[in-house]
Amino acid sequence: MPKLVCTFLLLIVVSPVFAQTKYEKEVRIQEADVPAVALDYVNAFAFSKKIKWFKEYGLESTSIEAKTRSDGKRFSIEFNDNGKLEDVEIDLRWKQLPEEVRSTIDRYLNEIYGKYRLDKAQIQYSGDPDHILRFLRKKEEHQNITIRYELVIHARVRKQYRQFEYLFDDAGSYIRSAEIILRNSDNIEY
């Protein structure tokens, strides 16, 4: 009986999480269509590789994103439509997350899904744009920067494999999540 109550409570807690969905459509744009403030900010990083610009359409908002690679890492720098920095995301491997953060996240996800698999991990920097720039370029001590971790995982929920995006703070505590709306792959499977 207590097990049944626990399962029921878990379902109540978890259900709103599943109710949120995430859909993104990205369209390639030219530098000329990027707000000057965003362009200047990305140029200040002095990336050696080509920078690709995208307009991203979410379910409720739009944004502008610069994507490139540097030192073997994939960078995504996201701005709002006016060119105000939202965050800088850098891909990383699961083992590159601090061990304590990893175990906190792992414990949390195991409680919900029992079994899950990681598809993608990113470290996300937000806050003062100049501080982020100095921190990432010159490896200065960071101030006024918020660090978070964004994970994409998949798990079997209600008899179906589903994909989710999770956001955790720098200690590995849950912030928010959304189910990713998957695109159809029938034409390359059958």
């Binding site: 008899k159 179906q160 494999y161 695109r183 792959s185 029938d186 034409n187 390359i188």
Partner: protein
């Protein structure tokens, strides 16, 4: 058109092309997919082949229309992991007024990378035809879908689909290898409709003797329910 086909064949083989056979035609298909509960899915395909021209590359062959066959395929799939599917299927082929039966087994792995989707298909099938030995095939196909705008294929966007497949066939102790290369241009009409147009090129019988080249103009319509 024949010049283009010949150029394509030259790229694929170093055999004496002039003496090799080719067949050119249309290969339209309609593909219906239905997702079921518990990660099951059904796929139905209707495909037809029509010849427009055939002969030797060295000859000047006139337009030669001929209806060849129609395939009806039903495949039941089950996801065994988020990106892995196993399927069992049955194909019924109508050719020269005769019915040909084929049983199909597949294992499909799909992976999404930044800027493209990749799918690998490992398959076996057995073809049963009256007064002929059973044909056994072992197939491997790699397929990729590359968006032409952005990093994923969205509604109202074009994409490039490239397939490369290797088919090993054993029939009455005779072995043959067929290689297929299919570049397609696709368009996502809606969340559950896609259209593709391209070339389905097949080369076979090249292990012993002159190769046989087949060029089909493929037109695929994918509909999900």
């Amino acid at each position: 058109m024949k010049g283009i086909l010949l150029f394509f064949a030259l790229l694929a083989t170093v055999t004496a092309v002039g003496q090799t056979e080719y067949q050119f035609g249309l290969l339209p298909s309609f593909n219906l997919n239905k997702k079921l509960s518990n990660d099951f899915a059904l796929n139905f395909e209707l495909e037809s082949r029509q010849q427009l021209s055939q002969g030797l590359f060295s000859d000047s062959n006139a337009f030669d229309f001929e209806y060849i066959l129609t395939d009806l395929t039903l495949i039941a799939g089950k996801k065994i992991a988020a990106n892995q599917t196993v399927t069992l299927g049955y194909l019924f082929r109508i050719r020269d007024g005769q019915g040909i039966h084929r049983s199909i087994q597949q294992f499909i792995v799909t992976k999404k990378f930044t800027g493209l989707k990749l799918s690998q298909r490992f398959a076996t099938d057995q073809t049963f035809e009256k007064n002929k030995s059973t044909a056994f095939r072992l197939r491997y196909r790699i397929a990729t879908e590359i968006p032409l705008n952005g990093q994923s294929v969205d509604v109202g966007e074009f994409f490039l689909k490239l397939n490369n497949e290797y088919l090993n066939q054993l029939e009455a102790s005779t072995y043959d290898l067929e290689v297929r290369l299919t570049p397609f241009l696709g368009y996502t009409i809606s969340g559950n409709q896609k259209f593709e147009l391209g070339l389905d090129y097949r080369i076979s019988s090249f292990l012993e003797g002159p190769a046989s080249h087949k060029f089909w103009i493929g037109m695929n319509w994918y509909q999900s329910l």
